[in-house]
């Protein structure tokens, strides 16, 4: 990796005009990614962005890397094939909450359980942007949209819980108002050898403006975002006065540090084999109106899919030698006619 040329943000910016609505949160995510790239010690040509369809899914066009704008919901599947074929590449998957949790939910789940080396960014704006404002699988109950004039009646998914239920080995959450935090999370995802899932709270200012405002606005963050830091007690609040504990029934709970004492606080451990802790943390908040953990929920290394597949190929070649077509054709009983 020593010969990776030095690059700047501009090198990672394609010549295509960005076509999101002015003010869309997607811009800041794009900036975070473009600013991170020069720091990652990877070559542009070894980097691929793959997406489905949606506003978020326009992302690959704006990265001066290899890219594919696929079809709705199928990005994780397209990316799985590419990552298996070319394990040396850095493959990023970008999509919206509709793309990856509605039509594409199953592909997301299977790429997570297989632990394919993908960096999966889910831009959660709790709405269908590109199709002009229908509710999505992360929209809150009662949401009034074009397709739910009387309010939606579907319990939303919690993307972190969904990922953890599907054996995800790396799970993190960040938001579009904090560039540094995004860059940290994206870097962690990149560094993780396996499927890295990052939920990004993203504001769609046209169809769902302010969905995350109650927790991501500058003046709300201290009291409404719970930073997860490995090895540290989980604390937050204007004056760090709040903390998180696990109660005897396995639930994570917000407490006043003053009440329980600092030593009672849960010390975050992203490396626990058992995802129960991460899962409990994902249930702390029922939506972006309660104190909500951000950061890395889970980062547990296990064997990566494409690597294992490649090993089986290598092993087969070791055992049987490289493929010999002539021999293959003669591998079953043959007879001669003269």
């Amino acid at each position: 990796m020593t010969d990776v040329p030095t690059t700047t943000k501009a090198d990672w910016t394609s010549d295509q005009e960005v076509r999101w609505c002015p003010g869309c949160g997607d811009y800041s995510i794009l900036t975070a990614v473009q600013m991170l790239m020069p720091d990652l010690d990877v070559r542009r040509e070894d980097t691929v962005f793959i997406s489905g369809i949606g506003c978020a899914a326009r992302f690959p066009y704006y990265m001066n890397t290899y890219g594919m704008h696929g079809i709705h919901g199928r990005a994780p599947a397209l990316a799985t094939g590419l990552a298996m074929a070319r394990p040396e590449l850095h493959v990023w998957v970008v999509g919206g909450d509709g793309d990856m949790l509605s039509i594409g939910g199953n592909h997301l789940l299977h790429s997570l359980r297989r632990n394919v080396n993908l960096n999966i960014l889910l831009f959660n704006n709790q709405i269908y942007g590109l199709t002009k404002g229908q509710y999505s699988p992360t929209s809150e109950i009662g949401k009034v949209t074009k397709s739910t004039p009387a309010g939606s009646i579907d319990e939303p998914f919690n993307p972190i819980s969904v990922a953890l239920g599907a054996e995800a080995s790396f799970v993190a959450r960040t938001h579009d108002m904090d560039r540094q935090h995004m860059m940290d999370m994206f870097r962690r995802a990149h560094d993780f050898p396996g499927a890295a899932f990052v939920e990004v709270f993203q504001n769609c200012n046209v169809f769902n403006d302010g969905a995350f405002g109650a927790i991501t606005k500058k003046d709300k963050r201290a009291s409404m975002l719970i930073p997860l830091e490995h090895g540290k007690p989980i604390r937050f609040g204007e004056n760090n006065e709040k903390g998180v504990v696990i109660n005897p029934q396995g639930s994570a709970e917000v407490v006043d540090v003053a009440d329980v004492g600092e030593s009672a606080l849960l010390v975050h451990d992203e490396t626990r084999q058992d995802p129960s802790l991460a899962f409990a943390l994902s249930r702390l908040s029922a939506g972006p109106f309660e104190p909500t953990p951000i950061g890395v929920y889970r980062a547990v290394e296990r064997s990566e899919y494409a690597t294992e597949a490649s090993k089986q190929l290598a092993m087969a070649q070791e055992q049987s030698g490289p493929g010999d077509l002539e021999a293959l054709l003669h591998s079953r009983p043959t007879w001669e006619v003269s």
């Binding site: 599947a77 799985t80 094939g81 299977h110 077509l325 003669h330 079953r332 001669e336």
Partner: protein, 625 residues
């Protein structure tokens, strides 16, 4: 039919022999048929097989629904079908007899496992009286053999439990048939010891049963004579017996080797395509990567993703799977990447007849996508030819950077025939050139890479693989500008691109072989026009008609899109055109529309292939019209 077995003494020579093994799903009939076939193949006969089995893993024992059958034609000359009507029916139980008797030729031979003809089984099969005794089989030559009893008997001393011993009765039947038709015993004995080398008891039981079957023939004095089918006079060379799915899998491996492009298979199990996944999963030392995906959509998407990465992406399935892959195939059309989509057709619509054959997915291959979304289509026509069809489909996909649909069907997939192994060095060179540098100079002199700048000859766009410096680019399913590949919604551009994609495919007609044309090419009164697995039956039927002095030609189309350039002339050349298809006339409709000739469809959609006899009578019917 001429080859009924005449009752004389000694060894009788036959030109060909059609045997049908039938029994309960659990009776191992597919295995028995397979072994009989292999021994005959090694002996040097030409042959063709037709396995037929129920959709259930194990349908209820003793019922009609549970019957599994395997038909094989063994011949001393070149044949192309598993035979019209069997000469011999081996029936392991009453249900098998009842269900399969319809196929047997009039006067044919029936060999039954007498032990199975007990009250309970007869009732299950729906017999009111025992057909072995009630005279209903008087028109046939019937041999009643207590297969179970003897098998158990000979296994007793081996320490095999009676219940287990019973399972070997199919090897008894195989032994008896091997004796009766002078099949070599050694290949079967060798196979048993290799296959069951870790289960010695089973190996012993099967060997004992097989030998007992042979001995029974010798000693029972039931049979006055044995029969022999001499080796066929075939082109010299090394042969192996191969079914369509294996040949097709090997063809894919060969294409990958010849192209020096690694093979990636994304697949989801489905009958009758699963065996290709199974076979390719074992070819890891050829660098073959296989992914059993979560569904058919993921399977084709992964294959397309791999193609983007410079692999030959392949997906295998049957009709229901293709129905799910349509959107992604459309994406591949727009991306202009190589992709092989393989449909082993089965009976439809919907779940239909999963284990039966049909060729009713041609129109789906042509049109099963939204928008103008042309895709080249190649069809295999015999089990062994699946090998070459796979190579040809891969050639087109790689050279023209396009998804290609390869059609096979259940009959080709599971049917087998001897295959003269090709000299590997004669296989076509499919070497691919990947893009390595910029291909376009901007007005200001900058060298850039344009993903949709085309090869002037093939109209293929460059295959620029991630990892290559200087060629970073983005592709997608939205309409794009030719050359730069940038998103473009302009009316003129779209019109241009739609026509370009159409012409890109049409243009491949310059690079495919002429139509296969045989028979009375110059003066036929009738052209029989086929595609796919009807080849065998049409070939035989046309031969029979011509032997009767009819003037008939047979054209067989392997490239269904684009059509061969000579096809228009061919179909217009003959007064009548008959198109036999295992669907309601799909190709016939294409021919009519394309060439405005009054081609007539002969449709058979019954889950079983045409017999030569059926087609022969159709030919005569049309000519006598």
């Amino acid at each position: 039919m001429t080859d009924t077995v005449p009752r004389t003494v000694g060894t009788q020579e036959l030109n060909r022999l059609v045997v049908r093994f039938a029994g309960d799903s659990g009776d191992g009939m597919q295995l028995t048929g397979d072994r009989f076939t292999s021994a005959s193949a090694l002996f040097g006969n030409d042959l063709a097989t037709l396995p037929e089995f129920p959709a259930e893993i194990r349908a209820p024992q003793g019922t009609l629904a549970g019957v599994s059958a395997f038909q094989v034609q063994v011949s001393d000359h070149d044949i192309t079908t598993p035979g019209d009507a069997p000469n011999v029916l081996v029936a392991m139980n009453p249900a098998a007899l009842r269900k399969e008797l319809v196929h047997l030729e009039f006067g044919g031979t029936i060999i039954v496992n007498q032990d199975a003809f007990i009250e309970r089984n007869l009732t299950k099969a729906g017999y009111d009286s025992d057909p072995l005794d009630d005279g209903s089989l008087d028109n046939y030559t019937l041999f009643k053999v207590p297969m179970t009893t003897i098998t158990k008997e000979v296994c007793k001393d081996l320490g095999v439990k009676p219940r287990d011993a019973e399972r070997s009765k199919n090897f008894f039947a195989l032994g008896l048939l091997s004796w009766l038709y002078n099949r070599p015993a050694q290949p079967t004995l060798d196979w048993i010891s290799a296959k069951f080398k870790r289960q010695q008891l089973i190996a012993d039981a099967n060997t004992a049963a097989f030998k007992a079957g042979m001995a029974f023939g010798e000693t029972a004095e039931l049979f006055d004579f044995t029969y022999e089918v001499k080796p066929a006079v075939l082109e010299p060379g090394t042969y192996t017996n191969v079914n369509g799915n294996t040949a097709l899998s090997w063809g894919l491996v060969a294409a990958s080797q010849q192209a020096k492009v690694p093979l990636f298979l994304g697949s989801y199990p489905i009958t009758p395509a699963s065996d290709i996944l199974h076979e390719l999963s074992q070819r890891k030392n050829f660098g073959v990567r296989t992914l059993q995906a979560e569904d058919e959509i993921a399977a084709v998407c992964a294959a397309l993703g791999a193609s983007f990465g410079g692999h030959l992406g392949i997906t295998t399935t049957s009709g229901p799977g293709i129905a799910l892959k349509g959107e992604t195939i459309g994406l591949a059309v727009s991306l202009e990447l190589p992709l092989l989509v393989i449909n082993i057709q089965r009976g439809g619509p919907s779940t239909g007849l999963p284990t039966k054959t049909e060729s009713a997915d041609l129109m789906q291959a042509m049109y099963g996508r939204h928008g103008e979304s042309p895709v080249p289509i190649v069809a295999a026509y015999s089990p062994s030819q699946c090998f070459f069809a796979a190579i040809e489909a891969a050639r087109i996909a790689l050279k023209y950077r396009t998804p290609v649909i390869l059609l096979s069907d259940g009959y080709l997939a599971n049917g087998s025939e001897p295959w003269l192994l090709p000299d590997v060095s004669t296989l076509p060179d499919l070497t691919v050139e990947f893009a390595t540098g910029p291909n376009h100079t901007e007005e200001d002199g900058t060298e850039v890479f344009w993903p949709y700048l085309r090869d002037p000859e093939t109209k293929a766009r460059p295959w620029a693989v991630p990892g290559t410096p200087g060629l970073t680019h983005r592709i997608g399913g939205i309409e794009k500008e030719d050359g730069s590949g940038n998103i473009n919604y302009e009316p003129d551009n779209h019109g241009y691109m739609v026509k370009l994609r159409e012409e890109r495919v049409a243009h491949i007609a310059n690079d495919i072989p002429p139509t296969m044309l045989e028979g009375d090419i110059d003066d036929a009164d009738l052209l029989v026009l086929g595609w796919g697995s009807t080849w065998g039956a049409i070939t035989s039927a046309v031969m029979r008609a011509r032997e009767e002095g009819r003037k008939v030609a047979h054209a067989h189309v392997t490239h269904l899109n684009p059509l061969p350039k000579d096809l228009g002339d061919i179909v217009r050349r003959y007064p009548k055109v008959l198109v036999p298809e295992m669907n309601l006339g799909q190709f016939c409709r294409i021919i009519r529309s394309e060439f405005l000739v009054d081609a007539q469809s002969v449709a058979k959609v019954e889950g079983v292939p045409f017999t030569a006899a059926e087609l022969h009578s159709h030919i005569n019917g049309v000519l006598d019209d």
